[in-house]
Amino acid sequence: MTTTTTTITQEEQNNKHVTNDQTQQEIDQTAKMQAINVNVWFGQKHVLKSVNLTVKPNTVTAIIGPSGCGKSTFLRCFNRMHELAPNAKMTGKILLDCEDIYERKIDPVQIRRRVGMVFQKPNPFPTMSIYDNVAAGLKLTGTKNGKHLDDIVKRSLEQATLWDEVHEDLKKPGTSISGGQQQRLCIARAIALQPEVILMDEPCSALDPIATAKIEKLIIELKRNYAVVIVTHNMQQASRISDYTAFMYMGELIEFGETRQLFENPKVKLTENYITGAFG
């Protein structure tokens, strides 16, 4: 690509859909997080190809796409969890408040405190009580302030809309409650640390419709305090809860825009095919 790319219209740019030119991506000062030209390899396999994405504060950003398109991997780049996979390699930048979280001096542990994560399968710590699960983040990172711990646990469980259901059973194991409750417990565990961004990797895929509805309501609530990025298989879910949607296919970001616009008036044919169910 040459410098003339700056003059092409929005339409053309969307049809090209991959912007390989790094200089073209400017830092968006209003963004909470921003991915710039992110490439990821697992060994020889190129799983993310020059992906750019902006996450605005107090919004829900959904990432949709067929299985294996790299959306979970992309999500894991936002808190450096993909580094845990052996032979993962990454280039590009992920900015948090305009600062690159991959800079040499930055400890991933610090990033993960600011960017929380909720996983596909509810994974409360089996050896800990409900109370300890919520307090785990504070205890494990050595930032507990004894007296306030009760308050923090209560507030987190309330925010996760779980308090009313478990407040009498705080001493019971975290794995003793139902799957949907466990997932909300995991969300409470993540927000107890008061992160700035919450990443969710298909948080409802292991849950029944009623539990899913509760979590979706909760995600919309969370938007008031956090930026939420959610990976989902469920396009209806994305259209219900998100403000922005990114469609990924084969490791590339095909289209990114406001959710309504993307679902009602997609600019790229591939996106249209996917959301109308022609493939995927």
Partner: protein, 275 residues
């Protein structure tokens, strides 16, 4: 159709019966040993038998010696074994660790007499005498690889999503291992460690080369020490029925010690969380 269903049901029963028979075959020698030891050993038990020296018709020094050996060996071996196991499981994705794992597995299979001779060569000769310390170190050489291996295996059974959950909260690796992975693997760790302790409690060959035996109570870490396996071995070689009977008693006590250690550790580490 009915015929094939009946046949499948028959196979199911047959499989169950074969398994049950195998269990019985496995239990027969074990049960008969327990029965013989209890039958011949139980009449020996008395306060003098437990606390007196051989001269008084007791095995006090041997009981004391075995307890000291178990304690000392555990103190040396269990921390090293568990930490090595953690290394292999949590950080062992490299060539160095792979070699370590192979060597560790080979040492687990070593005949214990070889370990006894090794410690005799490097410690007993250097210090100039058989000693309690040499015995504990020889037993630790047997204990460490077993504990290392069982630790690694039990930690590997901890699902990865539990580790991820902890790391995603911003916990460091060592915190994750210590506060999340180890507690989750606790049962496996305990069983493995207790089996290893039970094994070293009954080891005889390395003790012959290291602690030698003693007719008196504990006299210092650098002095020869009595121990139950040695007591049993020596008593069994004697032609006198009363001494042989003492050996049976000692065997019963050794089994009881292993049993009691097991029960006490299980109770002490039982999860306090109510389900």
């Amino acid at each position: 159709m009915m015929h094939s269903y009946g046949f499948r049901k028959f196979k199911n029963h047959l499989f169950f019966i074969i398994c049950a028979i195998c269990v019985i075959i496995a239990i027969i020698p074990l049960a008969s040993i327990l029965f013989e030891v209890t039958k011949n050993g139980a009449p020996q038990l008395s306060l003098t038998f437990l606390t007196g020296t051989n001269a008084n018709g007791g095995i006090g020094p041997a009981i004391q010696g075995t307890l000291i050996l178990i304690g000392l060996t555990s103190a040396i071996g269990i921390p090293i074994g568990i930490l090595s196991g953690i290394y292999l499981s949590e950080f062992g994705n490299n060539k160095y660790a792979q070699n370590l794992r192979t060597i560790n597995n080979i040492i687990t299979q070593f005949p214990s007499i070889i370990i006894g001779i090794t410690v005799y060569g490097i410690l007993v000769l250097a210090l100039g005498s058989f000693s309690a310390l040499a015995g504990a170190i020889a037993l630790a050489f047997i204990l460490i690889p077993i504990v290392t291996r069982t630790t690694e295996e039990s930690l590997k059974l901890v699902p990865n999503n539990i580790r991820e959950a902890s790391l995603a909260l911003g916990a460091h690796n060592w915190r994750t291992t210590l506060n999340v992975v180890l507690p989750t693997a606790k049962n496996g760790l305990l069983t493995g460690t207790l089996l290893a302790v039970a094994r070293i409690a009954g080891e005889t060959a390395p003790l012959i080369m290291t602690i030698m035996g003693n007719r008196y109570f504990f006299q210092g870490l650098n002095q020869p020490l009595a121990a139950l396996p040695l007591e049993i071995w020596k008593d069994a070689l004697q032609p006198y029925p009363d001494v042989q009977a003492r050996g049976w008693g000692a065997a019963l006590i050794l089994i009881l010690i292993v049993l009691i250690v097991n029960i006490v550790v299980r109770i002490a580490t039982r999860s306090k969380m109510k389900t």
